[in-house]
Amino acid sequence: MGNEATLLAVEGVTKAYPGVVANDKVSFSVAPGEVHALLGENGAGKSTLVKMIYGLVRPDSGRMVWKGAPYEPATPHAARSTGVAMVFQHFSLFEALNVAENVALGMENPPPMRQLSVRIREVSETYGLPLDPDRLVGELSAGERQRVEIIRCLLQDPKLLIMDEPTSVLTPQEVDILFETLRKLSAEGTAILYISHKLEEIRSLCNSATILRLGKVVGTTNPRESSARELAEMMVGQTLHTPNRESADLGEIVVELTNLSIKSANPFGTSLKGVTLSVRQGEVLGIGGVAGNGQDELLAALSGEALSTPSAIKFKGKSIGNLGPNARRGLGLLAAPEERLGHAAAPDMSLTENAALTGTIRRNLASKGFLRWGAVEDFAKEIIANFDVRTPGPDNAARSLSGGNLQKFVIGREVLQDPDVLVVNQPTWGVDASAAASIRQALLDMAAKGAAVICISQDLDELMEISDRFAALNEGRLTPPRPAKGLTVDEIGLMMGGAHDMEVAHVDA
């Protein structure tokens, strides 16, 4: 390390928080033009590490070297002026401001707005990321928002670009476009630090990988020469459990949607247009699609948050389109929405209280209008134990749990209510590999016992792994479901709307 070909060397960096050592003597180095992967489960210390490089957090000990000179960024401004740029996992964008204003906020010395707009157009065309500088970010799709972040970075002419889980919101075709861009940058000499869970991506994109586990470096490899399974096992530290699908006999149709059209409650949302589907007992129906094509609306329609004409939704032959969520819960149709904090769970209420929020009816947790707190707490404890939710106890606020742990709680809460039909949206978003595997296994176990599962997700690998049939949402329309076995990525891409997706988002907003 420290030779001239090294752009950034991290040497023995340690950062401790009360009770946790986030990074323990971490070392690695990046050369100009190298695409370097940082791999690790949630809580392995990847975020803390890149935050230190980006000047948001200061290391307790150890040092960083930039082109042979000591590098100690006190603020992101300092990091940016050195040549470090970062694309955040949770976008650091401002919805009520337009694209150009958002870009300007992330730059050190932005040119006047008019010039900046011109440059945004230039750069976005050079790298194949079309973007209109005058549009409000609140109207953009997730993929377009990411482009805003990337262009914000590119305009600063970075030497090192940090990307935190960039592909989780993109279609396969959009991922290809992104990788083209990154390869082009790498060929121009920009080093890229790439954080992801998706091992196949890392294998196709990165030249080298540093694997972190519990804050320590546990390996450095060339990802092209190791298999995805090897990488995953280094990351998890144990043999990985992949869900096994026992294909159950499919029973009767339990849920049937016929020509369901619902206007979106959100002014920036997508309305459902003529959605038709049916799910049988024991079946897992996977629904893919780019974010913002009607996923939230479909979940709301199924959960009962959005009402429709009675006959558009049938549950075991009974029209339920006009029933609210509690009535549907009573029948056995449960749902776990995507947004954990504020939709699936009330952030400032305890896990016990959150357990009561959806579980009261089916678990019989209330009598004569009074909650039976003892039973509620037992239910919460049962979820915590069965789904390996890491928390000091059921009295802790939902907000205090990490995303992955709260997700396990939210899914577990519905699964343990023994539904006939469970609808989940993004069940493993932001959840680490082993927890994701156990959530998927739980869904499969439910199906094996005869429940129907509708899994809405943007993670295609996940959908291919657990689905019996696959359908895709595009602009609020659902494609006819096809058997998942044997579907190729190209076919899936076409179902999701193909490359012209980019334009769709414009028209739609």
Partner: protein, 310 residues
């Protein structure tokens, strides 16, 4: 009823004077809210400004010095609010309400020995040429300095928010403090500055009441102007020129209804007294009908507590 007792010229001329205290307080509060902070202590800061301005002006004999003191007084009280809400992370609503009660009490204490004294006179400007235009000159160009200062502040706030980087950063902080923090902006520092600006403006507004509008010191003399200012910010959709419109509308209808009362118009006094509130709210609501949140300009992080997570 004697409508002829109302002199339209005098009426129009007094609108600007009647509106200026609310305008000053509202434009200050608008900047605070644009940064994502809800300070309900406007009334307290106004009355503190009123007493500080009055005391200093009578002691020094200079209204200008009094206004400066009022701005400082309001800003110091706002600083207290800022410290509690931004550093100790106290609840903004409760702290703001407490600030109002505290300001009312504190001002009564400071002003005890100043009741009944007359403030030094603030002379009206006589802007050459413009002031001599018949009718318009009398209405627009023969007021005291602060009327024009308040309009200049509105123009400056508008220009800063729309055209400058500082304004963009302020709006960004009010829109999403987490994102702003991730980009390396000092959320708390920016908000403290906005809070102090809001306090200074409220202080000026209060001093305008005690030094020019009345001009005397009485306990609780701002009489709810701070609350009106808060409401105008919301109904004006956080836009500077609409704040000006709202304040002038309110001031205008207030003056008009007082004149109508004096002229003994056969309308119940209670109805007349409530008309400024009704008309102002009605007009501003109609103006902002059928618009999404983004177009309304409500800062998304308004009133939320910011706590840097690392």
């Amino acid at each position: 009823m004697d409508l002829s007792s109302i002199n339209p010229l005098v009426l129009l001329a007094s609108i600007m004077v009647a509106s200026t205290p609310i305008l000053l307080a509202a434009i200050g509060e608008m900047v605070v809210e644009k940064s994502g902070v809800l300070n309900l202590g406007v009334e307290g800061m106004m009355i503190t400004g009123a007493v500080c301005g009055f005391v200093i002006a009578t002691e020094t004999g200079s209204p200008a010095v009094g206004f400066i003191a009022a701005a400082i007084g309001g800003a110091i009280l706002a600083l207290l609010f800022g410290f509690l809400t931004q550093y100790l992370l106290s609840n903004q609503v409760a702290t703001g309400l407490a600030l109002t009660l505290f300001g009312l009490g504190l001002s009564a204490l400071i002003g005890q020995s100043y009741v009944g004294i007359k403030a030094p006179v603030t002379s009206n400007l006589h802007i050459p040429l413009l002031a001599d235009i018949p009718v318009i000159g009398r209405i627009l160009f023969q007021h005291d300095m602060m009327v024009y200062v308040s309009i200049a502040i509105v123009a400056a706030v508008w220009a800063v928010l729309k055209f400058t980087r500082a304004g963009l950063i302020l709006r960004a902080v009010g829109e999403s403090h987490d994102a702003a923090h991730a980009l390396g902006y000092k959320v708390v520092r920016i908000r403290m500055l906005a809070i102090m600006f809001g306090g200074a403006c409220a202080g000026l507004g209060g001093a305008y009441v005690s030094l020019i509008r009345v001009p005397q010191w009485t306990e609780g003399m701002t009489a709810g102007a701070g609350w009106i200012a808060l409401a105008i910010v919301v109904f004006a959709s956080w836009r500077p020129w609409r704040v000006l419109l709202g304040a002038y509308l309110f001031g205008g209808v207030t003056v008009l209804q007082l004149n109508l009362q004096a002229a003994e118009v056969p309308v119940p006094v209670a109805l007349l007294s409530m008309s400024p509130y009704l008309i102002t709210i009605l007009v501003l609501v109609i103006m902002s009908i059928n618009r999404g949140r983004a177009a309304l300009g409500a800062p998304a992080a308004l009133g939320r507590v910011f706590h840097a997570s690392h």
